[in-house]
């Protein structure tokens, strides 16, 4: 390295321009953080329920596409699973959407209702500590992280007075609270017993939406999974076919590649990871959301590139005579190119810092305003930093062409 940090000294000399550049890069960084943050928040919120289910293997209908669009299937399949070696217990889960009436302003809004046998442990106790209130008819638990439009239920509940309202035109009482979180698909959640669920939806037992299977301690998870795939999903697998319980894409591909004429099971068997993948895959590939946020990130990147290019180009143009002088003194082109690239990298690093800090603040604001699980994480921080560096290097690469114009013969 050269003893004089010319790149930094030149940037520092033009304070206002440096501040404008940093503001521009910071803006691009924030834009990328927000877009990627929203995208990740969507994916995280979509699977927060899956992650908190206390089960090892899940059954769903082949026609289900996501939690917001579940097709019911016969609970016989789930009871059938009990006969397999290594399966300890099962829990049928029912879920559907219904209109919830805000008890304060009487406006209705669609809410997700999850029903299961309150004596079975379906959610981890960190989420749902006490299911006993739901044993009372028409009593539900309310998600404290639901959107505000459902009414200030947690506050009302904590005052001790009974909170009653209507769900699907049926009078229900809030018997407790839990915290799961709103998602892009469901603005709020209710948990209740299976019997209350049947009451609300006038459904008969027999059709379930998700079948939860718990394995006995010490059971060979791979083997049970394989057996269930063969027996219930009727997927023709040889013992060596799945080595990894979580090779979800491979299994999905196998299921899709099946000959339509061969007999198929009427359920799909998913490991917990595959159940999570199944949900995320829906949001990533079958909705516009993944694409939109990806596009937003790309736009942030392009905007940043243009800003940095403008700054660098102006800077090079201003210093053209000086660069030509350096060439006359015997400095090589390479030195001048390195100065421009150093400037680009300095801008990237300095612009990233305010962008990062503001993004953290905006994440907090967003989390409080939307109940979405949006937060800074190391992976995203690194990704955006890399994008910022790439952005500045691209701009630098375009701007250095101007350095070639520095002709030492012109300065005499």
């Amino acid at each position: 390295m050269f003893a004089i940090p010319l790149a930094w000294l030149q940037l520092k000399r033009e304070r206002i321009r440096l501040l404008v550049a940093l503001a521009g890069i910071g803006f691009a960084v924030i834009l990328m953080f927000i877009q990627l943050g929203f995208r990740d928040a969507l994916f995280d919120s979509a699977i927060s329920m899956h992650e908190n289910l206390e089960g090892d293997i899940f059954l769903i209908s082949p026609q289900s596409t996501a939690l917001i669009a579940m097709k019911s299937f016969s609970q016989r399949r789930l009871y059938q699973a009990l006969s397999y070696e290594g399966v300890e217990s099962i829990s049928p889960i029912y879920m559907d959407f219904a209109l919830w009436k805000n008890p304060i302003d009487r406006r209705t809004r669609s809410i997700m209702i999850i029903g299961f046998n309150p004596s079975e442990k379906v959610f981890s106790s960190a989420i749902v500590s006490d299911m006993s209130p739901t044993q009372i008819p028409d009593t539900v638990l309310f998600d404290t992280a639901s959107r505000e439009e459902f009414g200030p239920i947690p506050d009302l509940f904590k005052t001790g007075k009974p909170v009653t309202t209507e769900v699907r035109s049926r009078r229900v009482t809030v018997g407790g609270l839990f915290k799961l979180g709103a998602s892009f698909g469901a603005d709020g959640n209710l948990i209740t017993s299976d019997l209350n669920f049947f009451r609300i939806f006038s459904r008969k037992p027999g059709l379930i939406d998700v079948g939860l299977i718990r394995l006995a301690p010490g059971a060979d998870a791979n083997q049970v999974y394989l057996d269930l795939l063969q027996g219930l999903q009727r997927l023709d697998l040889k013992p060596g076919d799945i080595t990894d319980l979580n090779d979800c894409a491979g299994l999905r591909k196998k299921e899709l590649a099946r000959n339509p004429t061969e007999p198929k099971g009427d359920v799909i068997v998913l490991s917990k990871q595959c159940f999570i993948d199944f949900e995320q895959e829906y949001w990533k590939s079958s909705t516009a959301i993944g694409f939109i946020f990806g596009l937003g990130t790309a736009i942030g990147f392009v905007v940043g590139t243009v800003i940095v290019y403008q700054i660098l180009y102006t800077d090079v143009a201003d210093h053209l005579a000086e660069y030509a002088t350096l060439k006359a003194m015997g400095y090589r082109n390479g030195y001048l190119l390195s100065v421009v690239f150093q400037e680009a990298l300095i801008l990237a690093a300095l612009g990233y810092i305010p962008g990062f800090l503001l993004a953290v603040i905006l994440y907090n604001l967003t989390r409080n305003a939307t109940a979405l699980p949006i937060a800074m994480n190391l992976e995203r921080a690194m990704l955006v930093f890399c994008l910022a560096v790439i952005m500045c290097v691209i701009s630098g690469a375009i701007a250095v062409r101007k350095v070639q114009d520095a002709d030492p013969a012109d300065i005499f």
């Binding site: 050269f2 010319l6 520092k12 210093h319 350096l326 060439k327 006359a328 030492p408 013969a409 005499f412």
Partner: protein, 252 residues
């Protein structure tokens, strides 16, 4: 960077060896023609220039505007590629030389421009250091000392850490001289160094330039219109319409 640095180092060693070996004129021009433009717009600027400048000589080149003085200066300074004829500077043939070789020759030449062309973001000290950076055989402390000596020699010891914006025109030109001479170049090329200065500053600048160049044994080629400074020359050459019309020894 290390690779580049060590590469410069070898090249510098190579260049200084070849420089020290010559016992010929530092600048030898033979039948040089130069053209600007191409096709129908091609215009000849220099016509059959031949001249020799010996080590340690102070030569002033005079002539009307547009006569081609600056063009010849940029050719000698390896800032332009020689088109026709032979131009040997410090023993190196510049006609047909590669960019790398031209860059190498430039490092042995000190340039002083009409405009000072200092780097605005650097202090006087840093500006002078920039020219020493190219000579990797000095330690940081040696460079530092040499820079301070040089700025003291041009009378700027109290302005070492000033930025160009904070210096007067004459002071800036003196920094430029310090920059050009700091690395002890064999040749100093100056293009109207006094044009933008008042009489006294101009006189000071030329005196400093002459004194330092004599101390270091440098050759000076100075283009000027300024009659007040002709007395520093060992020799004056005239350029007119692209031809060196006259070579004579200046009256001392």
């Amino acid at each position: 960077m290390c690779v580049v640095d060590s590469l410069c180092l070898c090249l510098c060693v190579y260049a200084s060896v070849s420089v020290s070996m010559y016992n010929e004129p530092v600048i030898s021009i033979r039948n040089v023609n130069h053209y600007f433009g191409s096709g129908r717009l091609r215009k000849q600027i220099l016509f059959d220039i031949s001249a020799e400048i010996q080590p340690g000589e102070v030569v002033i080149m005079m002539g009307p505007s547009g006569s081609g003085k600056t063009t010849l200066l940029t050719l000698i300074g390896a800032l332009r590629s020689t088109q026709e004829g032979s131009l040997r500077v410090l023993g190196q043939e510049l006609n047909g030389a590669s960019i790398g070789k031209l860059t190498q020759v430039r490092r042995n030449i000190g340039y002083i421009f009409q405009a000072h062309n200092l780097l605005k973001s650097l202090t006087a000290r840093q500006n002078v250091t920039m020219s020493l950076e190219l000579h990797a055989n000095l330690t940081a402390a040696q460079k530092q000392r040499q820079v301070e000596e040089m700025l003291t020699a041009v009378g700027l010891e109290s302005h070492i850490d000033y930025f160009p914006d904070e210096l007067s025109g004459g002071q800036k030109q003196r920094v430029a001289i310090a920059r050009a001479l700091a690395s002890h170049p064999k040749i100093v090329l100056a293009d109207e160094p006094t044009a933008a200065l008042d009489k006294q500053s101009g006189r000071d600048v030329v005196d400093i330039m002459q004194r330092l160049a004599k101390q270091q044994g440098s050759t000076i080629l100075l283009v000027t219109h300024d009659n007040r400074i002709l007395d520093v020359a060992d020799r004056i050459i005239y350029m007119e319409d692209g031809r060196l019309s006259n070579l004579e020894t200046a009256p001392v």
